[in-house]
């Protein structure tokens, strides 16, 4: 068996990857939900660091914002509800199942590794092709060009995923989302200082996204976090629930489809953007999408954690703020 030499690899990369792997194992192995969720939160932040190492800053920002938000929602849920006791499995059976699972997992990993080892280190020629086409896209940031121009159908469908998840969550959530009546001084401070800061950050991410890392998804995630925190701190207008919120949510999707139709009418192809107005179209649609995504995510995660509780507010304030500011 060949010796695994790490000569070619940066020590920092090895450390970060190792940390990611360790937190992954912790996240799935810790039996208490609260502990598992905290491990998962750290896992997400380390992943964001790793994405930055792999030269993917857009993804790093999105991972921090969305991953932090998701972990935050899970944490709130775990803190709030009693973890149901699993029926006691016979100890020997449990060990046997774990052993079989581990064995199958090892076999699968070996098979996967074998297949992966056959992939070459040659970069795909898609990269240079896409990068070369960016100057004809209307924006200067390659990721935005891909998301909002070259492959904007995928983005439209992804918006649809978020929109209809919010619709489903709204329909299925049992608890009514109640407005916080007496926020208290701590939460008032949060509302006055942190929420506007997050909204500004979202706006900056949105506008910067045309030429630097950023864009509608990152901005939308930060805006969603801002809305949830604002709601928990007593801001009535930030209650992301009910008919008016749904209107904002579907408006983004409908606007995107409409833009597609305009492209059809003007150029003969769905979703095509004429270079003369591509920049304006992209920025406007991204603005609408940011609002849609923000409200949809807020709706989704408010429905997921809908209860009025001081502990919930403080933990929820901490986690997304961490993620949003990254």
């Amino acid at each position: 068996m060949t010796v695994i030499a790490f000569s070619d690899v940066d020590v920092l990369d090895v450390l970060v990857v190792a940390a990611v792997a360790v937190t992954a194992i912790l996240a799935i192995a810790i039996p208490r939900r609260v502990g598992a969720t905290i491990a998962f939160l750290v896992f997400g932040l380390l992943l964001a660091l790793l994405w930055a190492r792999v030269a993917a800053p857009d993804v790093a920002i999105a991972e921090a914002a969305l991953g932090g938000g998701v972990a935050g929602a899970l944490l709130v849920d775990a803190l709030h509800r009693r973890q149901p006791a699993q029926p006691k499995r016979d100890h020997r059976r449990a060990v046997a199942i774990t052993a079989v699972g581990a064995a199958l997992g090892a076999v699968t990993f070996a098979a996967l590794a074998t297949v992966l080892s056959r992939l070459t280190a040659e970069p795909a020629d898609l990269g240079p092709l896409a990068l070369e086409a960016v100057e004809r896209s209307g924006v200067s940031h390659p990721i935005t060009a891909v998301l909002l121009n070259f492959r904007n159908l995928d983005t439209l469908l992804e918006i649809a995923v978020v929109v209809f998840a919010a619709v489903g969550a709204a329909a299925l959530s049992r608890d009514r989302i109640r407005t916080v009546t007496d926020p208290g001084p701590v939460r008032r401070v949060i509302a006055v200082i942190i929420v506007p800061a997050l909204v500004l950050l979202a706006a900056w991410l949105l506008v910067a996204g045309t030429s630097e890392p950023g864009g509608a998804f990152q901005a939308g995630a930060v805006l969603g976090a801002a809305l949830i925190i604002a709601h928990l701190c007593g801001v009535r207008a930030a209650r992301a629930a009910g008919g008016r919120a749904l209107v904002l949510v579907v408006a983004g999707l409908l606007a995107f489809i409409l833009l597609g139709g305009i492209g059809l009418a003007v150029t003969g192809t769905w979703l095509a953007l004429d270079l003369s107005w591509a920049f304006a179209a992209i920025l406007s649609i991204e603005t609408l999408l940011t609002v849609s995504i923000g409200v949809a995510l807020a709706m989704l995660f408010l429905a997921a954690g809908s209860r009025d509780d001081a502990a919930a507010a403080d933990s929820a304030a901490a986690a997304p703020a961490l993620g949003g500011a990254a």
């Binding site: 792999v54 998701v70 149901p84 970069p123 990269g127 990068l131 998804f217």
Partner: protein
Amino acid sequence: MTTLQLFMYAGAFILVVGVAATLLVRDLIRRLIALNVASGGVMLLWLALADRGDGEPDPVPQALVLTGIVVMAAVTGIAIVLARRVEQLDDDLEEVEQ
């Protein structure tokens, strides 16, 4: 081992660990976490493949991973709502029995 291989194998490892846990663990929220972990593994693989070579990374896979992250967040959101419903129902049934 090159950096590409390190990241690829790590991604595969995290994926397998996550999927195994999704299938074997019984607690609903822990399974959901495992599913997200598995997704992270696949994303690591994608981004490693995007960053091959010395030049700028390929923006297409990075855009795809971004899409994937958003989709998983939406899926997780609805899963939490459903898990709450399932467990609230179990709680109600328990109370009735008592």
